[in-house]
Symmetry: C2
Subunit: 115 residues, 2 copies
């Protein structure tokens, strides 16, 4: 069985840096904190917008990535950026990226992994 | 200045156990995983529902708590449970709980902390 630990450690560094970069940019509207939430045990990595838009409380997760069995799952991306393409540029091969928010039959039609 | 470390360590244990208990219950509908996401460095603690309802991808955070300067902030609670009251039962005093999703003027009208 393949030892997934070095790969996972590499991917988690790449992901954390990517999300830290994202989190430096605040939404143009509203009064938000942009938080990074990294669970390095369960391998969940999020950007979260927290704050007020007009009088309304906003709790919004624009990006959520996870690592499972050596693959990067994109569970959420409401940004305008193509996160999968950025991960590829950062050295993660397409076969190690899963577009988790698509149903499996749609993943099959992509160049990325199905699971 | 008060050393907040022991308090924070105590509160994070209480919070993690509470959320782990919540995460044992799956939503009655849909095909979900219920994940716990604990960032023990930045002190963010979440429950997250991930999965499919009919053909639709669902990424929903029912509970998000954080610890800041020795206080527990409730940033999100879409459950039917009164999480603040449960935290009190578990030994966290009201003056150390902030209902973060209410604007400050409403927090002032509660028995809980304003910030």
């Amino acid at each position: 069985m393949e030892n997934l630990k070095p790969k996972t450690e590499n991917y988690q560094q790449v992901i954390q840096q990517l999300l830290l970069d994202y989190a430096t940019v605040k939404p143009a509207y509203g009064d938000f904190e942009v938080e990074t939430i990294f669970d390095t045990q369960r391998h969940h990595y999020q950007v979260l917008d927290l704050g007020w838009e007009q009088q309304r409380w906003v709790h919004h997760c624009p990006i959520h990535l996870a690592i499972r069995q050596g693959k990067v799952w994109i569970f959420r991306n409401t940004t305008e950026q193509d996160i999968a393409a950025e991960l590829v540029i950062l050295g993660i091969p397409k076969q190690d990226i899963v577009l988790g928010f698509y149903p499996p039959f749609m993943r099959e039609m992509s160049d990325y992994a199905v699971s």
